[in-house]
């Protein structure tokens, strides 16, 4: 992410505001900036979503491939995360510059979705032990303005909600190799996924004793430590991560407070996201994309 240069006076100004629960743009410490969500932008993909969170712009697409299941889990499908930091976001991402960040984000998303409770991989199985669906979730980061992982997790959940898996049936087997056929238009070609338990990741930045939700790039530059928590709609934590080089005092109350706040905010975020997705799916507005 781009380096922000802040003077000491600006940092002090932000700090004093946060102590009174007022941030530079007028929000309270636990408020998100306005989020824009759009589904179904990418026609080539089985499902896609675009999330715009102030300056942060993320495009997530889900493509389905037929693959062999792993030998440890023969009756489950696979989820494969790939993050691409586009140079559009900052010149530092040119060539291989964004690769380290991309790998970190992809690993974090994989961990968040690892538990069977957040996403039931057995629904992706076609034939036990032989064929399964592999969902390739590709994230394209177009602009970085803070709360990157939050936007990516929201985009992933929305893209999974938009995804339709083609129905597959076996029509023949030939010496151990199987022939699969995609179902006809008339039979109901595609079925949706069960995305309702997918987690949303919330980033909390710690500034002195206050915790900031959805920190802007300037606020992130002042904060000592951050905590990323993956929260599923049923108040369960799927993953945690402390990025960067900050740390939380073990015996202070801040860490417990942070986890509780993260769960609270995460559940609210999940509810709001579900409502927005349902609204989008029922109203089916025409895709606006980047033209608007």
């Amino acid at each position: 992410m781009a380096d922000i240069l802040l003077s000491e006076a600006e940092k002090t100004f932000i700090l004093h505001g946060v102590r009174d629960n007022v941030r530079n743009d007028g929000r309270s410490c636990s408020e998100f900036r306005p989020i824009e969500l759009e589904l179904g932008l990418v026609e080539n993909a089985n499902g896609s979503a675009r999330v715009r969170l102030a300056n942060t712009d993320v495009l997530v697409a889900v493509k389905c491939e037929i693959d062999n299941p792993s030998s440890n889990f023969p009756d489950e499908g696979k989820l494969d995360f790939f993050v691409d930091c586009s140079a559009n976001a900052t010149p530092q991402f040119e060539g291989k510059g964004g690769e380290q960040l991309a790998v970190e984000l992809a690993a974090l998303m994989s961990r968040a979705y690892q538990t069977r409770e957040s996403f039931n991989l057995s629904t992706l199985s076609i034939i036990k032990g032989m064929k399964c669906w592999k969902l390739c979730i590709d994230v394209l980061i177009l602009e970085c303005g803070g709360s990157l992982i939050d936007a990516i997790s929201m985009g992933t959940k929305a893209a999974l909600a938009d995804t339709k898996i083609p129905k597959v049936s076996v029509i023949g087997s030939d010496e151990g190799s199987l022939e699969l056929e995609l179902a006809d238009e008339a039979d109901g070609r595609e079925e949706p996924l069960d995305w309702h338990h997918a987690p949303c990741l919330v980033t909390l930045n710690k500034l002195e004793d206050s915790l900031l939700v959805d920190a802007s790039a300037e606020e992130e530059a002042c904060c000592a430590a951050a905590l990323i928590v993956g929260v599923s709609p049923n108040k369960k934590i799927t993953t945690t991560s402390i990025p960067g080089h900050g740390s939380f005092l073990a015996d202070s109350k801040v860490f417990t407070r942070a986890l509780n706040l993260a769960v609270d905010v995460g559940v609210k975020l999940n509810t709001a996201l579900e409502a927005a997705i349902k609204k989008h799916q029922t109203l089916k507005p025409p895709p606006r994309g980047f033209l608007d």
């Binding site: 080539n44 493509k63 586009s86 140079a87 559009n88 040119e94 590709d138 602009e143 980047f290 033209l291």
Partner: protein, 259 residues
């Protein structure tokens, strides 16, 4: 796909266009706030995002500066989900590197680089959906992004592709403008031309696919050149519309002419 012809007997192409029709072009400038200039362009189903950073100081690699002009750096990247078959690497492979070089050459001849010695201009392109003429759409989007960044150009850089439908029933082969993905893969020659339309100069020319007979080069090139001039009209209208909108927004916000 067997029996799919580039040009049907009624003179219609696979997507219903006539041989001299361009696809619908929709574009928007100033899509993002972080880059100095940005643009989004759709040419039919091909969707491209361009971002321009610069002119700015060269910090890391001092060797990549010219004492008398700006250093242009372009990067062409395709999103992993842009093609119907998922792409493994967005950029860095040989084809993309060749595209980077071609873009560098094009914009080095179009940008007034002598105005910014010892500085650097970065142009980043991202193809969101690839449906043929990807390179041309990128050049057009980059032109808009450069204009949005306020970088002086000698002229609009417009790029267009053309191909030749094989002769049917004794009629001579028909040149067709603005190739889409199906037409690209069906075979035939593909001519990609980038021009400065008002200065009537060609900055880049590339022929790929099957070979083209010498007698057919003129009509095919002529088609691409006319196509580029038509694209310039669309881009010009978009730029003027965008500037009018910006001025209007400034007036409404009270900044006015005295600011």
């Amino acid at each position: 796909m067997a029996g799919l012809q580039l040009l049907s007997e009624y003179g219609l192409r696979v997507d219903g266009r006539r041989p001299n029709e361009l696809r619908q072009i929709r574009c928007k400038m100033g899509v993002f706030s972080q880059p100095d200039g940005s643009a989004y362009l759709e040419q039919g189903n091909t969707k491209v995002l361009a971002a321009v950073y610069g002119p700015h100081e060269v910090r890391l690699n001092r060797s990549k500066t010219h004492h008398d002009r700006a250093y242009i750096n372009c990067q062409f990247s395709m999103a992993v989900f842009s093609t119907s078959e998922r792409k493994r690497r967005p950029r860095g492979d040989r084809k993309s590197q060749e595209m980077d070089m071609n873009l560098n050459q094009i914009f080095e001849s179009a940008i007034r680089t002598e105005l910014y010695p010892r500085s650097r201009i970065d142009i980043y392109l991202e193809v969101l959906q690839a449906d043929g003429s990807n390179f041309s759409a990128c050049v057009n989007a980059a032109t808009l992004a450069l204009i949005d960044a306020g970088i002086p150009l000698k002229d609009y850089v417009c790029s267009c592709t053309s191909t030749l439908a094989p002769s049917q029933g004794g009629a001579p082969p028909t040149p067709m403008v603005d190739v889409n993905h199906v037409e690209e893969t069906l075979g035939g020659p593909g001519l990609n031309m980038s021009t400065l339309p008002r200065l009537d100069s060609v900055v880049h020319l590339e022929l790929s696919g099957t070979r083209l007979h010498l007698s057919h080069i003129d009509p095919v090139a002529e088609k691409a050149s006319t196509g580029a001039a038509d694209i310039m009209a669309v881009l010009d209208k978009a730029v003027r519309g965008h500037v009018a909108q910006c001025l209007h927004a400034r007036e409404l916000s009270g900044q006015g002419a005295d600011a």
